[in-house]
């Protein structure tokens, strides 16, 4: 099998954005390389089974609030931390699920984990497969696919 690519992430992101975050086509996710990606908030899902790794969605706090406002149909000012966790978590779930369908079968997706404090969780023994840097509403958004390099017992694969 061939690993997922940045182009695959772009196709997936475009579909997610046009379905939930950019309904009128006026504010898409624009691919844009970042020197220093902002990761105030990171939501991730883990993939286990025939392939093992993680799919992460990181963005600035502003972008995270915009995601929550869009998904929950509330005003930006009304967004609270719980809203951000839920909205980003579902975003990671949907993007992760679509990445999973490009991987060898059978695989399972974990429930999402969300970090709102600038940390992005610890992923020991991983290698990056691909990532997509983008700008949405002038804010930084990044999708990353990480593959585990150690087997379940911790030995290198």
């Amino acid at each position: 099998m061939t690993n997922p690519t940045e182009d695959d992430l772009k196709v997936i992101a475009d579909q997610v954005w046009s379905s939930y975050l950019d309904l009128d086509g006026a504010s898409p996710l624009i691919p844009h390389p970042h020197d220093k990606p902002v990761a105030d908030v990171t939501a991730s899902v883990s993939v286990t089974g025939a392939w093992r790794g993680h799919v992460l969605v990181s963005c600035s706090e502003q972008a995270a609030k915009n995601v929550a406002a869009a998904l929950l149909s509330i005003d930006f000012e009304e967004v609270v931390e719980e809203d951000v966790a839920d909205a980003l978590g579902e975003l990671a779930n949907i993007i992760g699920g679509n990445v999973k369908s490009l991987l060898p079968e059978p695989c399972a997706l974990s429930l999402p984990h969300v970090h709102v404090d600038g940390s992005n969780g610890r992923y020991p023994s991983v290698t990056e497969v691909c990532h997509l840097d983008g700008t949405w509403l002038a804010e930084s958004v990044t999708v990353t696919v990480l593959e585990s390099t150690a087997d379940l017992a911790g030995a290198p694969v």
């Binding site: 695959d8 196709v11 997936i12 579909q15 046009s18 379905s19 679509n98 369908s101 490009l102």
Partner: protein, 285 residues
């Protein structure tokens, strides 16, 4: 809105000449929206500048792209539902009786765009025809870009999510990376050809069923009449015609009569209007 009245007039003239499409005043927003991607691809920031360049440097290839962008129809699988239900409930039982000798059915899907309609027709026929029967679907469109897409028979997840019953998705499509592609079995019964409805047709048909949905609305009355007349020449005397849900032949062409089919209408040639012999087919028609 950057488009000037003169630029809009130029575009309207172009599509009218090439495709008999009528863009009345008020459709400026449509031209802006549809041509913006082309403008960006050409490296120009506004549609106005893009149209200006198209006027000053006439290139047949760019003109064709402009016509394509303005004539592309949104389409989906099983669009509007009811016509396909009536295909199964009303039309096929009728044709199964009438074609018992030849046991084959030919269908034309005019203005097939990215192909969802012909493939929908193929799915319905493959699943509804008894053993021993064959069928043929011809999809035509004015846009070579759309025809290329339709020939590939490959759709995004968003496209197969719309209107396509899940049991049919898993039966007639196979995943191909992030996309879904029609199975070779389904593909084998569908062919595509470029056709401009506003120009005289090459020899075609004869067809048992013609679907020409949501494209006549773009033409003026005279062109509608001409198209329906040409279509009549490709239709078997007892063949069926389906239009878009908001369209009708009434008041436009007398040679058809309306037939109520479930919650929709279909059209058949009046006895008085039937050609003595159908137009002869050349090759697959």
């Amino acid at each position: 809105m950057t488009l000037t009245a003169q630029e809009f007039a130029f575009i309207s003239g172009l599509v009218r000449r090439d495709a008999a499409i009528v863009l009345e005043a008020g459709k400026e927003y449509l031209v802006e929206a549809r041509l913006l991607p082309l403008a960006r691809q050409s490296g120009l920031p506004t549609v106005s500048e893009f149209v200006n360049r198209a006027q000053q440097r006439p290139e047949p290839e760019m003109h064709a792209k402009i016509v394509d962008a303005l004539t592309t129809n949104e389409t989906s699988f099983f669009r509007d539902g009811e016509p396909f239900k009536q295909l199964v409930d009303t039309v096929l039982p009728d044709l199964l009786a009438r074609r018992a000798a030849t046991r084959t059915i030919k269908i034309w899907s005019a203005a097939s765009s990215s192909g969802q309609e012909p493939y929908t027709l193929a799915m319905v026929l493959q699943d509804s025809l008894p053993a021993g029967w064959t069928f043929d679907i011809l999809g035509t469109d004015i846009s070579t870009e759309m025809l290329t897409r339709a020939e590939a028979g490959q759709y995004t997840q968003l496209e197969v999510n719309r209107g396509l019953p899940a049991p049919l998705l898993v039966k007639h499509f196979e995943r191909n990376g992030a996309h879904w592609k029609v199975t070779p079995t389904l593909r084998a019964n569908v062919s595509f050809r470029r056709l401009n409805l506003a120009a005289p047709f090459p020899p075609m048909g004869p067809f048992d069923i013609v679907f020409i949905r949501n494209v006549l609305i773009y033409f003026d009355v005279q062109t509608k009449r001409t198209v329906l007349q040409r279509v009549a020449g490709t239709l078997r005397p007892d063949g069926w015609l389906f239009l878009g849900s908001a369209e009708t032949t009434i008041g436009i062409d007398d040679r058809y009569e309306r037939v109520v089919a479930g919650r929709t209408s279909a059209y058949k040639l009046r006895a008085s209007a039937r050609a003595a012999t159908p137009v002869s087919a050349v090759g697959k028609g």
